[in-house]
């Protein structure tokens, strides 16, 4: 069976702010249908990596999305959906206006049909009276507009309640089944056990783990307080062995 054409390839991606190196030689390959957790402690370079791939920061090395170089030109960004770690949507606009604006920028319809009903606040609701979680849901919907092939999600469910998280992960898995890929940055990768296929752990701007979700670096990073214990099957362990 021929190897699938990767959605994302980076080779020796490096980024420094002044003399301070934040990313140092990141080489990754992400195939269609893969959901990859990008994790690491605070300041490990997770958000910077996503911002480089979204075309927001110039960098050294190479990155290609769908075969197109990430070099600042707008075309490649048509293939990418991005949610930054923190965004304040304008309070004067309604939910519908925000979606319509970003859809127009992308040249697509302002609809995300695979999001479950009730995930988004009503279209006529002003952002100013939406809760933090509702605003985050709108930002996530913006990233999903136009079925991008690569989703770059920086702590996407940080403000969401449990129902919202489950609904979003289910949507993300649906997108992956349809061939999209996603990089999800989070400091607590164990939260994505059962959702993500693979974990990449960064430390001091370098990849220290690229593989299964049960690697020692992943386990060491723990999980968000209040989230359920991972099932043994999610960790890839033999259930009998786990019980023993």
């Amino acid at each position: 069976m021929p190897e699938p054409t990767p959605v994302l390839v980076t080779e020796g991606l490096a980024k420094a702010f002044g003399r301070h190196a934040v990313l140092d030689g990141i080489s990754l390959r992400v195939d269609p249908g893969e959901i990859v957790v990008i994790s690491g402690g605070n300041g490990a370079g997770k958000s910077t990596l996503l911002r480089c791939l979204a075309g927001l920061l110039p960098f050294e090395g190479r990155a290609r999305v769908g075969g197109l170089e990430v070099d600042g030109r707008p075309d490649v960004r048509r293939l990418v959906g991005y949610v930054p770690q923190a965004v304040q949507l304008p309070e004067h606009a309604t939910v519908g206006e925000v979606l319509a604006f970003f859809a127009r920028l992308r040249g697509v319809r302002p609809e995300v049909p695979d999001l479950p009903e009730g995930f988004l606040p009503a279209a006529e609701r002003p952002i100013g009276i939406c809760s933090g979680g509702q605003r985050q849901r709108v930002a996530l919907a913006v990233a999903l507009l136009g079925d991008p092939r690569l989703l770059l999600l920086d702590e996407p469910v940080a403000n969401l309640d449990e129902g919202g998280r489950d609904a979003f992960w289910e949507t993300l898995r649906g997108r992956a089944r349809a061939g999209a890929a996603a990089l999800v940055a989070t400091p607590t990768p164990a939260d994505l056990i059962g959702v993500a296929d693979r974990a990449v752990v960064l430390a001091d701007g370098r990849v220290v783990h690229d593989g299964a979700m049960d690697g020692p670096h992943v386990v060491a990073l723990g999980r968000r307080r209040g989230t359920p214990e991972p099932r043994a099957s999610d960790l890839g362990e033999d259930e009998e062995e786990a019980e023993a």
């Binding site: 702010f17 075309g55 927001l56 949610v83 930054p84 965004v87 304008p90 040249g107």
Partner: protein, 274 residues
Amino acid sequence: MNAALAVAGWELRGAVRSRVVLGAALTFGAICLGVTLLGLDALRGLGLAGVGPAAAGLVNLGVLVPPLLGLLLGAASLAGARERGLLAMVAAQPISRPAIVLGTFLGLAGALWTTVALGFGLASLVLAGVARVQDLAPLGALVGATLAVGSAGLAVGVGISAFARGRGQATALALAVWFVLALGMDLALAGLAPAVRLGPEGLLVAVLLNPLEAGRILALLAASAGGTALGPFGAFLLDRFGAGGAAALLVGGIVVWTALPLVLAGRALARRVV
């Protein structure tokens, strides 16, 4: 271009809904009305007809207030969006950075022009009763010059916003630029002109280096046949370039003041961290 127009529409809607722009429009309208009524009162006291003194007051108002408003609006634009994380979301879409700058400028220019239209609209309601047919062209030139210098101020503000580290720094720089253009250059010129023996050519260069001054001269040229309101400098301009040539030169200067900051802002935004 479609993406730039989308940004323009977004900015215009946001600015119109914002209380700051509404407040500025009402304030500018009230000041225009006040200046017009005071000017007409002075006119009647002298037993003169026409709109001359009222228009002269509006010239000074028009070349000072809209550029200040434009500078402040522009300074808050990109820097504010960057602080809120919104610029990153917009820049991650398939739109070029120069198109973001252009769209931001066009949208805010629409808001600024609405403000100016409201202010001068109120003044024209009062002037309509006393204006003569020959007053229409000077008043039209005044509105045009005001829109032009306001747009130049806005472009400089957007340029500052692209380079500034934050909204606070951008606003402080915008205010500093306005003080230099509105007062500083005049004061420096008044102090230096005798010492350096600045001739009319040197004065023209100084005018072109200041869009507010170029706008003022443009409006006054149109307001007074033969450039009499400008004294020897007006006579020099008309003698050397003719009325059309002088107007084109001044408009050209303002256009450069508008285009150059936008080009620099587009380049800065393409290179810097968003």
